[in-house]
């Protein structure tokens, strides 16, 4: 309980009421029982009908629990059919289908064109994915990558001739699986052949340069 309260204080410390006070009943919640005193009225996480009893900060069900997974699947199927939920008037729902279908089609078309590529950076804990088609050229791409990965405290990503102070270089994997330095080929050719991007330490990339010449 204390952990929860502290976490909330941390999260909401900017509010005028910085100490989030839960009514004392928060601790009594577990005592609440239904009028028949049976266990089915006990508070627990998860969907009604599922059998999990663990209390954790996450909403996840225990992973190895096959039974509750099955139930979850069943209830998910049932979810799809609830009438009138969420409570939005059909007038409003019907106002969007054309646009929504449009947006979906656009998204599909983009995805099919394969312009989304993964971007990894050496030393960073997770990858990013970017859509190359939104950039007009290399400059924009570099700026965007710089912005995206700056939280991993890099120097500026620079081109190969930026020898002084250049810590990182942007490379990419092309259709043939070769590792290439970004910036050599015309932009249009680049976006059609690039399969993924990799930001690596400058000294590693220098090997690529020297190989080229």
């Amino acid at each position: 309980m204390t952990l929860t309260a502290n976490t909330d204080r941390l999260l909401f410390s900017a509010t005028p009421h910085s100490s989030v006070e839960f009514p004392a009943r928060l601790r009594e919640m577990e005592d609440v029982k239904g009028s028949d005193g049976l266990g089915d009225t006990e508070l627990r996480l998860g969907l009604p009908g599922t059998s999990t009893a663990t209390r954790s900060a996450k909403r996840a069900l225990p992973e190895g629990d096959e039974e509750s997974h099955d139930e979850l699947r069943r209830t998910s199927a049932a979810k799809a059919q609830v009438v009138g939920w969420p409570p939005i008037r059909s007038y409003r729902k019907n106002s969007f289908p054309a646009r929504k279908a449009e947006a979906e089609a656009e998204a599909e078309a983009e995805a099919a064109a394969g312009l989304y590529v993964k971007v990894s950076m050496d030393g960073a804990p997770y990858l990013r994915k970017i859509d190359l088609s939104v950039y007009k050229g290399y400059k924009e791409l570099r700026e965007s990558l710089n912005h995206m990965f700056q939280c991993f405290s890099l120097g500026e990503l620079s081109r190969r001739e930026g020898g002084s102070g250049s810590e990182y270089a942007i490379t990419y994997e092309d259709k043939d699986g070769d590792l290439m330095l970004v910036g050599d080929v015309p932009w249009e050719m680049f976006i059609s052949s690039c399969k993924r991007l990799r930001i690596m330490k400058g000294y590693e990339a220098r090997g690529l340069e020297s190989r080229k010449h």
């Binding site: 976490t7 009225t41 969907l47 909403r59 009138g84 969420p86 106002s95 969007f96 947006a103």
Partner: protein, 629 residues
Amino acid sequence: MTEDCDGEEKDEETRRWSPGQGGSSSRGGGSGTSSSSPLKNRCVRGRVDQPPPFSGQVLENVLENVLQFLACRRDRNAASLVCRSWYRAEARTRLELFIGNCYAVSPARALGRFRCARALVLKGRPRFADFNLVPVGWGARFSPWVAAMAAAYPWLERVCLKRMTVSDADLALLARSFSSFRDLTLICCDGFGTPGLAAVAELCRNLRVLDLIENDVEDEDEEVVDWISRFPETDTCLESLSFECVNCPVNFVALEALVARSPCLRRLRVNQHVSVGQLRCLMVRAPQLTHLGTGSFETVPVADGAAELDVAELESSFVASKSLVCLSGFRMVAPEYLPAIYPVCAGLVSLNLSYAMTTAEQLKPVILRCHNLQTFWVLDTVGDEGLRAAAKTCKHLRELRVFPFEATEDSESAVSDAGLVAISEGCQKLRSILYFCQRMTNAAVVTMSKNCQDLVVFRLCIMGRHRPDHITGEPMDEGFGAIVMNCKKLTRLAVSGLLTDKVFEYIAKYGKLVRTLSVAFAGNSDLSLRYVLEGCHKLQKLEIRDSPFGDAGLLSGIHHYYNMRFLWMNSCKLSLRGCKEVAQRLPRLVVEVFGDQNKELDSDAVEKLYLYRSLVGPRDDVPSFVKIL
């Protein structure tokens, strides 16, 4: 017997309808309205409430002159209960008739009591009908009302209907019968099409207001009528014309001409078939507009030779519309045209972008100029970031509605608890909020309860059913509990997320002013329903779906149902036996049970229950799938 057509506020002592007493309440009659007249003893027949002739007449005339100034219907209801004389005077001077449930009273009865009314506000179906929970054909037809009024109210001026079925024939009868008719407002109605509108346009020569809001206007393709062309050729007295919900294209040339010959026009809301170029023409014709519904706000492919509208040109139209205070529409908004509204932002009091898929980046330059905004409706595509921007600027915000772009349980929503907190910090004068989201925390709701103490309406919809606090994993009881505890003016509440009986205990204990409560997928047992029905003394409207409440809970409200407008319950745990018991014990209540349209009522389980008090007993237009107990 008190005949109160709306049944909203009731004086506890004199109007509490006790079970078993046939609903009569004590009023002046018979028990001695102590008239302090010295001539009292001359009333030999023992009808003490009849004052001496002349002084009585003068009194009633004086009374009528005074009561004319009483506008609020709750005050009028109170006045009508003082004694018979006041009852009569009030009945003669009531100009607006508000009937919150069309089946609570019959046309004959209402019109018989209030013979001088000039305006009627009538509400039909229960609100859950908006979400397809009431089968088609259930009822709430305008026909009997318009037929009765055609005879009784030749001087009728205004009609406002909500969730009623209005046919083209009804509209034609309306248009023919009332020569002074001026205002027609239809909200969430159905049953009519362009032929009905044409009749109104043509025959109501004094029409000032024609507001069609979110109606289901059905037209077979072949039957579409050019109703805009039917307005009289001369200058009109139109002040407000709203037809956003009319789905078929309108004759633009006729519309432009109509606007040009309507010098009093202040409010114009067009449908999405009006392009931004056409909108500009209309704005040029009517620079005096205060309320504008912009239609599509997008260009349509134009014929060769015609230039596309320049943003600067559009902007100049907005510059010229110096009186604009309310903007809506933006049905297909092309983002490049949005900056055209910058010139009017500072003066806007109300902005409805809830049909526009604007991103936070597109919203920011607009909202940062709207310092005076009081009402803001928006789509969740703007995300928490967009809401933060609104919170930063709109210090006078009173009403916020955040609608979901994708209204499904599993959709991604860009708004969350963070947006709610930001709004609560920036907009502390907030009175009304409707917020759809997928992720919420108790802490955020508690924060809002403390920052926005003026809240009157709090409606939070966490779209995933039974979803708990997404950080702590706990039910949302504490958040909603804090709302009822801290927001002492709260009259309307809608709850969602994972909720136990506890939240209803809070609502019962602290929600003493709550009049409307909406419950879905909540609670553990009948205790919840019992708490609410026993604790919320002002409760008028209770709508519940998919919650585990049964007969015991239902019966715990017997003492209160006569004071409510209605109770709706669907997909709960009710049985015929329990519903029948309620019907038996409360003869003035109409108890309707029904299932889905095509199912037989064979089992004992009750799928849908709708009960309401009524002065006239079971209605006579019951469809086959409804059973009145």
